[in-house]
Subunit: 346 residues, 2 copies
C-alpha cells in the first residue's frame, strides 16, 4: 500500500529542497528547465497531487460549501442540492451536506461543526422548529464571524443575508385564479400553520385571488394542517381531516394545496367519495415533484424550479466568496413560478 506522496518525499528522493519541488510543479521560472522537467516527471510518475487540507490551511479557504437542509428524502430539496452541486463543481467547489431533520438543535450543532474551518460559506433552508422558536442567533453569529450565508425557500427577514426564493404569493394567487377561471366557485386551501413562511405566503396568495374576484373567504375552506411530525407518518390523520373538509363543504369544487402530498391525498379522498377529477373537483398543488408528474390523474402544479434555486444560491455564495469587495450588500433573488397544467384541472 503506497501512501500518497508529498513534496517532502519528492524533495528527498531528488535531493532538492521542498520549495524547489513546489516551484517546479507550479512552473515557476525561478527553476531551471532541467530540474523542472525532472521533478515534474517524477511527480507524474508517483501521481503527486497536492494535499487539499494543507492547502486549505495555508489559503484559509476550503473551497467547500456547507448545505444545511431540513430533510434530504424530498424531491424539492434534493433537486436544490443538485443545482448547487452543479455550479459548485463547475467553479471548483465541493459540497458538504448536513441535515437538520427539522430540529433546531441539530441545525445549530451541524452549523457549529462546519463553521470551524471546514467550509467557506453556507447555503441553507431553515428548519421548522427554528421557524417556530424564532431563534436565529446561530445564523447571525455565523455571519458576524465573516462566514457568508445564502438562504433559500424558507427564509426569514430577521437575518441579513442573500436569499433565493420563489414568488410563493404570486404563484399561489395565479393558481387560485386559474381555478376560478376554470369555473370553480367554492375553493378550499390545504395549507400549513402560519409559522412556516412559505405556507403563510401561499395562504395569502389564495386569499388575495379570492378577493380580487369578490369571493368571500370562508374559514371553513381553509384547512391548516399541523405538522408536528413527518406528514408521511400521519397519512390517515391527514386523510380524515380532508374528508371532513369535503363533508362539511358539499359544494366544494376546487382545491389548492400547498404541497404535493396534500394535493395527492385530497385527490385520493375525493376518489373515495366518488368525485370525478377534474369534472367535479379540480386540484392544484405546489412543487413540481415526481408525485405530481406520475399521479393519476396528473396533478396540475405550481413549479418552483428547484434546480434554478440551487444554481442561483450557489452562484450568489461563490460570487460573495470570491469577490474582493468587503461591501455588505445583500440581495434577495425572487424566481418566478410556473403553472404546469396536467389532468387535475380542466
Amino acid at each position: 500500500m503506497k501512501r500518497k506522496v508529498t513534496l517532502k518525499q519528492i524533495a528527498k528522493e531528488l535531493d532538492v529542497s521542498i520549495g524547489t519541488v513546489s516551484k517546479a510543479l507550479r512552473n515557476s521560472k525561478e527553476i531551471s528547465e532541467d530540474t523542472r522537467e525532472k521533478i515534474q516527471a517524477f511527480a507524474k510518475l508517483y501521481n503527486y497531487k497536492p494535499n487539499n487540507i494543507a492547502l486549505s490551511l495555508k489559503n484559509r479557504k476550503t473551497k467547500t460549501i456547507g448545505i444545511i437542509i431540513p430533510e434530504i428524502v424530498h424531491h424539492f430539496f434534493s433537486k436544490v442540492i443538485m443545482g448547487i452541486e452543479k455550479v459548485a463543481n463547475k467553479r471548483g467547489y465541493n459540497v458538504i451536506v448536513g441535515l437538520s431533520n427539522e430540529s433546531f438543535d441539530k441545525e445549530v450543532i451541524n452549523m457549529e461543526m462546519l463553521a470551524n474551518g471546514s467550509i467557506d460559506g453556507f447555503i441553507l433552508s431553515i428548519s421548522k422548529e427554528t421557524l417556530l422558536q424564532q431563534d436565529y442567533h446561530h445564523f447571525k453569529e455565523t455571519i458576524a464571524q465573516g462566514m457568508p450565508i445564502v438562504m433559500f425557500d424558507r427564509v426569514v427577514n430577521e437575518v441579513n443575508c442573500d436569499k433565493v426564493i420563489v414568488d410563493d404569493f404570486q404563484g399561489s394567487k395565479n393558481a387560485v385564479k386559474k381555478l376560478i377561471a376554470n369555473g370553480c366557485r367554492h375553493i378550499a386551501i390545504i395549507t400549513t400553520k402560519d409559522y412556516v413562511s412559505v405556507g403563510r405566503l401561499r395562504t395569502q396568495g389564495y386569499l388575495e385571488a379570492l378577493e380580487e374576484h369578490k369571493f368571500e373567504p370562508e374559514s371553513g375552506l381553509i384547512l391548516k394542517i399541523v405538522e408536528e411530525l413527518d406528514a408521511e407518518d400521519h397519512l390517515e390523520e391527514l386523510e380524515r381531516e380532508i374528508e371532513y373538509l369535503f363533508k362539511d363543504n358539499p359544494e366544494l369544487d376546487g382545491i389548492f394545496a400547498v404541497n404535493e402530498l396534500y394535493a395527492l391525498t385530497a385527490m385520493k379522498v375525493a376518489r373515495r367519495l366518488n368525485k370525478n377529477i377534474p369534472e367535479d373537483l379540480q386540484v392544484i398543488g405546489f412543487t413540481d415533484g415526481v408525485l405530481s408528474k406520475h399521479a393519476t390523474p396528473g396533478l396540475t402544479t405550481v413549479s418552483q424550479h428547484a434546480l434554478q434555486i440551487g444554481e442561483k444560491a450557489a452562484e450568489l455564495l461563490i460570487d460573495k466568496l470570491e469577490g474582493e469587495t468587503e461591501e455588505e450588500s445583500y440581495q434577495t433573488v425572487v424566481l418566478e413560478t410556473e403553472l404546469i397544467e396536467r389532468e387535475s384541472t380542466k
Copy 2:
C-alpha cells in the same frame, strides 16, 4: 466582524505561550489551576473552537466521509444518504457528497478531488457508464493508496472492498412467485440492460421463479429497456415499448418491473388499454419509494430498506477507519428485501 479566535491570539492576549493555552483548554494537569481557569474563561468568552482544518492536517484524518452517487434526486439514493448521515453524525463524522450523474468521467474527477486529503473514506454506488465500460481502476487505486471504500447497491466483483447490497435475486424471485401464487400465468418482466448488475440479478430472480414453477420463459415477455439517458426524459418511448409488450402478449396477466418508474408506467399504459388492476393485471415493482406508496392503485413493491443500507455502509466504513488492525478482510453484507403488498396485486 470579529474573525474566529485562535490559540495564538489567546496566548498573546494572556501573555502565555500557545502550547500552554492548548494544554489548558484540554485540561492538562501540567498547567496550574489558576492559569487553566483564566484561559478557559477567556476562551469561553471569545467562543474559541479549534480549527478543524488544522486538526485534520495534524491528525491526518478529516472525520469526513465522501459519498459518490449517480444521482441525488432519487428516493433510493437520498434515503441511503440519510442513513449514512445519521450514523456518521452520531459517530462524529461529516458527509461530503459528489454526484457522478451516471458519468464515468465525473465519477473519476469527483473521487480524485476528494481523495487528496479531503476525506477519510468513500461510500459509493457505481455509475452506469462505469459499469458499462467496466473500468474500475479509480476504485482500485484509491484503495491501494490506503483509502477504504464501501460500495452499495451497484457493486462489482472486480473490486475488493466492503459492500452492502440487498438480495436482488431472492427479492425478485419472491415477487414473481407471489404473482404466480396469485394466479398469474403469463408474467412479463420490465428490466434494464444486463450491464447494470442489479438489473441482471433481478432478471435472474424472475427466471428462477418461473423455472421453479415449470413455466417456460418466453423472450417476448422480457422487456429490456435501454437507458442511454435519464428515463424521465424518455417517458413516451418507454410507454410505447410497454404498449407493444401488451399488444404482443394479449394474455399478459402479471408484470414484474425492476423499478418504480417502469411499474408505474406499465400501470398507466394498462389503464389506457382498459385493463383493470389488479383484476386483469397484477403489477409488482422494486424499490419502495414515494411513487409506489402514493400511486393509484398503490403499487405492491419489493422494499430495499435504503435507510438500513446507508446505516450499514457507514458503520462498515467508520469501523474500518477506526479499527486498529490493518488486516485486509472485506465483507459483503446482504440485507433482506421485503415485499410490501398494496393494491396492485390481489
